[in-house]
């Protein structure tokens, strides 16, 4: 017997259920056995258990009534220092220069950058704190605009993580695992909840470099990757410049009309193949081509901020006029959310301030403060904030002792995973609240700790998802964003 050629073999392999039933000679038992060996053979219509490639989410109905429907995650990459921004520690100023007591450190491991340091002098913040909002929450003078929205945000001072270096820590925050390879938070939401939108990706990513430390570590696309989920769930990076989404515009010499004819013919071929094989991947492929075609119009329209009135730029700050800055990205985030994009992920680099912290954090705060506050206010007045979750925070905190020499005006801080601060607003988060406490040295958590997995579980809960039930079976194991951990923090929910 001749060996079938590979394409033919593939076709045979992909024979769908219909063919089995039309060949009754094989009998029901054969069908069942075949499907045990390869479940996809029995799949006529795409079923969510095995195919996550449709624009609808895998969850037909949510587990709980959702409070949040969209999210803007303002990721502050590098690990912002909590002592200069949110966690007011007068004791550190009083004991400025004193040695970090062993009773506080308790043998905590340090990074290679300070582990060999001879002394660990405590470093108090160079910046003053002032009470803000109805509850008199203490906020740093570096954040004058954030202090104006204190009544709308919830500050968590008791975040903690397991990782101590950037790559594993960011990966942990974004995917629930320190090892690369798992889907990002946005991909999980896209997989679970589907798209609200036919013209733009469900998960959009915007990057900016801070002025605090312009040469700070770069980021990598796997942070917004889909891991083992279908690739349509991966984040799509929007860049500043004339080609916001790579490979989207027609190549030179190809007109829109040519593209349309080309797509029509391709669709016809794909439909034929679909008829023949019944493979749901082909349907997805057709949908993706059409989505890309529509994005040729929708992306430039979204990125074109020239229609925004003057005062919008005043609100987000002058940086918002410069494409690629954090402020410009905040404005774009609002425009994407208005167009029903579910997940907008910003990354702002430059918070990794091992040296020259007082200067660098001032510049970083200047980069982000006004635009972040403006974004929250803008969403609020548009009636979007109650269903849009805004998160501002990094991957870990910084040490209460100085890395390198502590001088009157200068010090640095190393990575600190045991406590750090972030804030959230809207989307069913309790506003105007401070959650969790650290000790007077700001080194350990003394009340209401929130692990990264707890935060992830809580965020999923806001979206109406039980974090233990949004799963994907891969290589014989059921995976979740929260792995086998995570507790919903009820006190954070409005």
């Amino acid at each position: 017997m001749n060996k079938p050629d590979p394409i033919e073999r593939e076709c045979l392999y992909n024979l769908n259920r219909r063919h089995f039933f039309s060949r009754m000679s094989q009998g029901i038992g054969g069908v069942a056995l075949a499907s045990l060996l390869n479940p996809s053979l029995l799949m006529g219509a795409p079923s969510p258990a095995f195919n996550d490639a449709s624009l609808d989410g895998v969850l037909k109905t949510l587990h709980f009534a959702p409070k949040a429907k969209r999210v803007i995650y303002l990721f502050q990459s590098g690990g912002p220092s909590q002592y200069e921004l949110f966690d007011h520690k007068p004791l550190l100023r009083k004991k400025n220069g004193d040695e970090l007591p062993d009773s506080v450190r308790q043998g905590q491991r340090l990074t290679g950058m300070t582990a060999n340091q001879e002394s660990f002098p405590l470093a108090g913040s160079q910046y003053d704190f002032h009470p803000a909002g109805q509850n008199g929450t203490m906020i740093s003078e570096l954040l004058p605009y954030t202090s104006k929205i204190v009544d709308d945000i919830c500050i968590v001072k008791s975040m903690y993580t397991e990782a101590i270096n950037h790559d594993p820590a960011i990966t942990f925050f974004q995917t629930g695992s320190q090892q690369p390879g798992r889907p990002s938070f946005g991909s999980w939401l896209s997989y679970g909840l589907g798209s609200m939108n036919q013209n733009l990706p469900t998960f959009c990513v915007l990057l900016s470099r801070g002025t605090g430390r312009p040469g700070d570590q770069p980021l990598y696309a796997r942070l917004w990757g889909n891991g083992f989920l279908h690739s349509l769930h991966q984040g799509v990076q929007f860049r500043s410049g004339k080609d916001p989404v790579l490979y989207l515009q027609n190549p030179p010499g190809v007109t829109g009309m040519t593209r349309r004819h080309w797509l029509d013919q391709l669709n016809r071929l794909n439909h034929l193949q679909q008829e023949e094989l019944g493979d749901p991947e082909i349907t997805t492929r057709i949908a993706q081509y059409e989505m890309a075609y529509r994005m040729q119009t929708s992306v430039p329209e979204t990125m074109d901020i020239s229609s925004e009135p003057d005062w919008v730029f005043k609100m987000y700050g002058p940086d918002s006029l410069t494409p690629g800055t954090y402020a410009a990205n905040c404005l774009l985030a609002r425009r994407l959310i208005e167009r029903d994009v579910r997940f907008v992920q910003l990354y702002h680099m430059g918070w990794d301030q091992h040296f020259d912290l007082p200067g660098a954090i001032g510049r970083q705060a200047y980069d982000t403060d006004q635009a972040s506050a403006a974004l929250v206010m803008d969403l609020k007045q548009r009636g979007l904030l109650d269903e849009t979750l805004v998160i501002w925070g990094g991957e870990f905190g910084r040490t209460n002792y100085s890395q390198g020499k502590l001088t009157k005006t200068d010090y640095g801080r190393d990575h600190h995973p045991r406590c750090f601060s972030l804030w959230m607003a809207g989307g069913g988060i309790k506003p105007g609240m401070v959650y969790g406490e650290t000790d007077d040295y700001g080194y350990n958590i003394v009340k209401d700790p929130v692990h990264v997995h707890d935060l992830q579980a809580t965020l999923l809960r806001l979206f109406g998802v039980d974090h233990e039930k949004l799963i994907f079976k891969h290589q014989g194991r059921r995976f979740r964003l929260t792995d086998v951990h995570g507790h919903v923090i009820d006190d954070l929910l409005a």
Binding site: P48, P66, G215, P318, D340, K380, R382, D386, D490
Partner: protein, 693 residues
């Protein structure tokens, strides 16, 4: 027509599965009956029954597998049920085999094991179909009553009128503690679901000490650390939240009166926030609406209408038709089969107008309605009077005005109203608030009040390269159209008398371009400046004695003569990085020429261990093999931390030299200085360009 045939067959699983259960039970009964020698005549039927059992068990397992493909069931449970079912089918076959071939003892053992598997599989299957609490729901003592937590009874308009005990505390405590302390089940002889129970206290005595929460037994037990053995609710049950505890403590401290209302007690800021946040339970829940039919939802989705059931707990449906310009009465009419379930309607940025709004009447249970940026006016608002359950209404960016708000005054549940960018005045809002005290109205922020005077961003001066040999086109970019961009080319500061930028500038010589943006209502921008240098002579080739670090190798040695400068990002590829060493490069000018200056452009970023050079030596040669030194400079090493910066090191020869080959030796700092925390490690030298003129 056959694509779902396996699901059709699968649904026969619940029918067929009872056959092997009954038949196997029959085998048990017959074997039991024949056990002590009585009724042994019945045993002849056993092989026949076993064969039937095996056949039906296998069929049942196959059908069950097909049913599982629907994905309608909990995947974990399905997996367990699937494999125990397959094992049961296999066990039945094995039983048939050993009954005929093996000893009685073996047969009896397998029979018992099969029985166990049967019970397990049956139970798992039952749990899949009916839920895990089906069996135990009516078990004596199990309360199935669901009382919500801290909520406000719908009859009350404001929290002030709520009775603290009856309206707030009793429902909360009943829901959280009633499982063990109810009239049905009185652990510790305590009932917390009735007022009498509270007054009686429990085994350990009185519950409350009026006026002193910390002396009250009840309060002390709920504030114990969670891992304490006496903490209530006990481990494994959800703890009371901080606000709930605060409310209970407040009530006890204020006298623990069973009659008082919220307004009667001294306000406490800690509790006030929690009380203010109280909202009545959703009044729609009391109506017991039907769940939406999945086919109806699917029909809408297939028609391109995003309709989703909000959660599996509740029947409510959300429909999203934003940014659509093709809405008409016909399309909205397609939603009507779900009129009893649709509670959220997103119509923002669409072509909805006053007339189309009238076709929304059928959706009487709407709670959230988005009409922002539509053509709706005061006339259309009158149609909204019918939506008695409406809580959220977004009208921002419409032309509604004060007179239209009267229609909203009658909506009893309205709590959030968005009126930014409408014709509604502050006075109009005040009038509405007088009638609707619980309403929150958002009229938008006043940018000028919250945000200080804004300075324009610095205009961007854009050119292909900073260095050029012939001429260079420079454009000035500014994102806000209609902004005046004043520029100078002579190094002076731009003023409003300077030339106004309209078209790209053509530079034919070394130029310092300065530009400033000005616009009414804004502060003038900072002056942006960029210098562009005309290079007299292009270097033909450059060879390096030592290769740069592989990580920072740019496009090779040519990177240093490509007339492209780098920025502060040392990873950009425009920089060549040398670790712990120097740069020694030999430039070939192609022909003999007079050399006046040698320029080396360097980067410093001490946090990244990158330092400026400490010395520069220039030698020249005619033949490329014998060089003579013609100039040398040393530079002071950097003494402290600072932000990243770039600098050009220019060495002007005392006597211009005629030569074809120029050798440049840039001496790096080599090791980190003693003030650096990583003292002694190798320092980096970063160079992006070497120029000769």
């Amino acid at each position: 027509m056959f694509e779902n045939f396996h699901l059709f067959l699968g649904r026969f699983h619940p029918l067929v599965l009872h056959l092997p259960i009954g038949l196997l039970a029959g085998v048990f009964v017959l074997e039991l009956a024949a056990w002590r020698g009585k009724l042994q005549a019945l045993q002849v039927a056993v092989p026949f029954l076993l064969k039937l059992s095996a056949l039906t068990a296998v069929v049942s397992a196959v059908l069950g597998y097909m049913l599982a493909q629907s994905g309608d069931y909990d995947p974990t449970l399905v997996t367990w049920h699937q494999w125990s079912g397959i094992a049961l089918a296999a066990a039945t076959l094995a039983l048939l085999f050993v009954q005929q071939r093996a000893s009685t003892a073996v047969y009896q053992g397998v029979l018992l094991a099969t029985g166990g598997l049967l019970a397990l599989t049956g139970h798992l299957g039952g749990t899949l179909t009916h839920g895990s609490d089906y069996l135990t729901a009516y078990f004596p003592g199990n309360s199935t009553r669901v009382v919500s937590d801290l909520t406000l009874p719908d009859s009350l308009q404001t929290v002030g009128a709520a009775r603290v005990f009856d309206d707030l505390i009793l429902p909360l405590v009943s829901s959280r503690c009633g499982e063990c302390h109810s009239t049905e089940k009185q652990k510790g002889e305590l009932t917390l679901t009735t007022r009498a129970g509270w007054e009686d206290g429990g085994k350990e005595g009185e519950l409350l000490v009026a006026g002193n929460a910390f002396s009250s037994l009840f309060f002390r037990r709920i504030i114990l650390p969670r891992d304490h053995k006496d903490a209530m609710p006990p481990e494994g049950k959800r703890a009371l939240s901080a606000e709930e505890v605060a409310l209970l403590g407040w009530w006890i401290n204020e006298g623990a009166s069973y009659e008082s209302r919220v307004d009667d007690l001294e306000p406490d800021p800690k509790v006030a926030a929690a009380l203010d946040a109280l909202r009545p339970t959703n009044p729609l829940l009391a109506l017991d609406l039907d769940m939406p039919r999945p086919q109806r939802l699917q029909a809408l989705q297939e028609a391109g209408i995003a309709a989703t059931q909000l959660s599996e707990e509740e029947p409510f449906v959300s429909v999203r038709l934003t940014h659509r310009s093709d809405l008409d009465a016909g399309l909205l009419g397609r939603l009507e089969p779900l009129a009893d379930q649709i509670t959220e309607l997103y119509l923002g940025h669409s072509n909805v107008d006053d007339e189309l709004v009238t076709s929304l009447r059928a959706f009487k249970y709407l709670q959230r309605l988005h009409l922002e940026n539509t053509a709706i006016t005061d006339v259309g608002l009158r149609s909204l009077e019918a939506f008695t359950y409406l809580r959220y209404l977004n009208l921002y960016g419409t032309s509604v005005s004060d007179s239209g708000l009267d229609a909203l005054a009658v909506l009893p549940h309205l709590s959030n109203l968005y009126l930014w960018q409408t014709n509604v005045t502050r006075a109009g809002v005040e009038r509405l608030l007088a009638q609707q005290p619980r309403l929150t109205v958002d009229q938008g922020i006043v940018v000028e009040e919250l945000f200080g005077a804004s300075k324009l961003g610095t205009p961007q001066i854009i050119a292909d390269k900073a260095l050029f040999t012939d001429s260079l086109t420079v454009t000035i970019g500014f994102p806000l159209e209609g902004t005046a961009l004043y520029y100078t080319l002579d190094g002076s500061e731009p003023t409003d008398q300077s030339p106004l930028y309209t078209n790209p500038l053509l530079l034919t010589g070394s130029t310092l371009v300065k530009v400033q943006a000005r616009r009414e209502g804004w502060d003038d921008s900072d002056v942006g400046s960029s210098s562009f240098v005309k290079v007299g002579r292009a270097v033909q080739t450059l060879t390096l004695r030592d290769s740069p670090s592989e990580r920072y190798a740019g496009d090779g040695p040519a990177t240093l003569i490509d007339l492209q400068l780098g920025d502060q990002n040392f990873r950009s590829g425009a920089w060549l990085g040398f670790e712990g060493g120097d740069l020694v490069g030999t430039l070939d000018l192609g022909e003999s020429a007079v050399v006046h200056n040698v320029t080396v452009s360097c980067l410093e970023d001490v946090n990244a261990w990158i330092f400026y050079p400490v010395g520069l030596t220039v030698s020249v040669s005619e033949d490329g093999s014998t060089f003579r030194e013609v100039g040398a400079r040393t530079y002071p090493p950097t003494a402290d931390f600072g932000a990243a910066s770039m600098q050009k090191y220019i060495l002007s020869l005392d006597v211009p030299q005629e030569a074809r080959f120029v050798r440049v030796h840039v001496r790096g700092q080599r090791t980190l200085p003693e003030w650096h925390p990583n003292e002694g490690s190798e320092a980096w030298l970063f160079v992006d360009e070497v120029l000769v003129d």
